[in-house]
């Protein structure tokens, strides 16, 4: 009887956590030299939200992204993403977990030797989609990000904005429930920055949870979305329709 109650409590706790797309509770993480990177971070993001995680260099944004990707493990606390308990997940299950996420980086991280089509198709091949499905899905997503005519181009033949669109297409082609964008406009000019942000909005409108990590004051202030501000590894502000908070 006691065992049953314990079991029920555990399930209840899990289902409570799982209603969030991302749930961090009392997360602590230190660098290898012992300097704290994140201290007692609590963060809940519901499915379908559009959230900015803002902060200056060294505020802990990159560490947070690495935790969400399960590239590193927190020293203490609980972290649940897409229903996966990242403190207890087995190494062999990490690839399966990551397929629920789409990731976009500041430096695009495209495979230089492959053309646009293959860069996007690559994500589908990883989840073992058939060639028939790939031939259907890739042109469709390239068209959605406005690159239908450039599927044969190599990354170096594209502008920064176009490369980021390819990265977005690659991140979205497997229909992830969360899109993590780490400084997605860091290498872009203002025109491309605006276009990429509009694309992210459109993606969010289609139901994908979007988390944008940035220290770009202008786009944070322009978008008027939820803004979580990190400073020296601590969440100092979490505002609906917030703005960028400067250090001083």
């Amino acid at each position: 009887m006691a065992k049953d109650t314990k079991k029920k409590r555990k399930v209840k706790a899990n289902s409570n956590v799982e209603k969030y797309a991302i749930c961090l509770e009392n997360i602590n993480k230190s660098y290898e030299d012992g300097v704290p990177a994140l201290t007692d971070v609590n963060l809940k993001i519901t499915p379908g939200e559009f959230v900015f995680i803002a902060g200056e260099t060294g505020s802990g944004k990159s560490t947070l992204i690495k935790l969400l990707l399960r590239e590193i493990k927190a020293d203490s606390g609980n972290i649940n993403v897409c229903g996966y308990d990242l403190m207890r997940i087995k190494r062999r299950n990490v690839p399966k977990f990551r397929r629920n996420l789409g990731v976009v980086f500041q430096n695009f991280r495209l495979l230089k030797e492959r053309n646009v089509y293959d860069n996007v198709a690559f994500a589908q091949r990883i989840i073992q989609k058939s060639e028939r499905e790939i031939r259907k899905n890739v042109p469709s997503i390239l068209s959605a990000v406005g690159l239908a005519g450039k599927y044969k181009a190599k990354p170096k033949q594209l502008s920064g904005g176009e490369q980021q669109r390819v990265a977005l297409a690659r991140a979205l082609v497997n229909k992830p429930s969360i899109l993590l964008a780490d400084e997605p406009t860091g290498n872009l000019d203002p025109k491309n920055t605006t276009e990429i942000m509009h694309l992210l909005e459109k993606i969010n409108e289609n139901g994908t949870t979007v988390v944008v990590v940035t220290h770009n004051r202008e786009i944070v202030n322009l978008m008027q979305r939820r803004v979580i501000t990190l400073r020296k590894g601590v969440i100092v502000s979490d505002e609906e329709k917030g703005g960028y908070i400067d250090e001083d």
Partner: protein, 297 residues
Amino acid sequence: MKISTFFYTLRQGIINVFRNKWFTLASLATISACLFIFGLAYSLLVNFQHMIKTAEEGVSITVFYDEGLPQEEIDLIGAQIGARTEVSRVVFVSADEAWAEFSAELGEAAEGITENPLVNSANHEIYLSDVSAQTQLVKYIEQIEGVRKVNQSEFTANLFTGVNSLVTYVSIGMIAILLSVSVFLISNTVTIGISVRKEEITVMKYIGATDFFVRAPFVFEGIIIGLIGSALPLVLLYYIYEVALKFLADKFAFLSNLLVTLPVWDVFTVLIPVSLAIGVGIGFFGSFFTVRKHLKV
């Protein structure tokens, strides 16, 4: 794993071989150079061992019998000795044959001798398959009833035994050193080649690729390079070996009793599978373990 995934990763491995030209060339050169030296050392060593073995086979023990011992008993003793494992061949030399051979050596000095002075010299010449067993065999023969005397060349036997052991140890040592150097050089080349593509591996892992999916193209690439890298020196060695045999036969015909070389296929039936296995093995394990370092993303 789907069959399509297997073929996709295989195709990527083949594409990688051509895509990363410099890495492929560096790896091919390293593997080929190492296996060429290995093949050359192996060919020389097996031939040297063969020459010693041939010379060893020429070393014999001569067994003489008691006066008046009937021929049937001599034959029986010969058969008894011939049945031993360390004996390769037993040749009976009758008293007449012994005198005919000796008188031929004496030449004019033998003229006028009408009766066979070697009438009690009927003997068996015993040839050994393993010259190191000579002393033991002599002891055995000396105990046989009817045996008068056993002639042996202890110095020759000991010399061959010593040289044979030395060649064996030197061969094992050289091959071990060559293989260690090969593995070190090749793993270094593979490490450099894969480090350049660390970014590619990281991206694959972020997207959700399994370790197998990331590793398989690199492993296929390693196997292909290993296979080509071991085939090239084999072809080269084959032609060099043939030319060398022809050269020895033409220029050193007077040493043909000493320079007893092995035919091409006697060497290459061993060298081909061993070299291919080493090449493929190094390619497989080199890429398998080097990629592993980068999979922890």
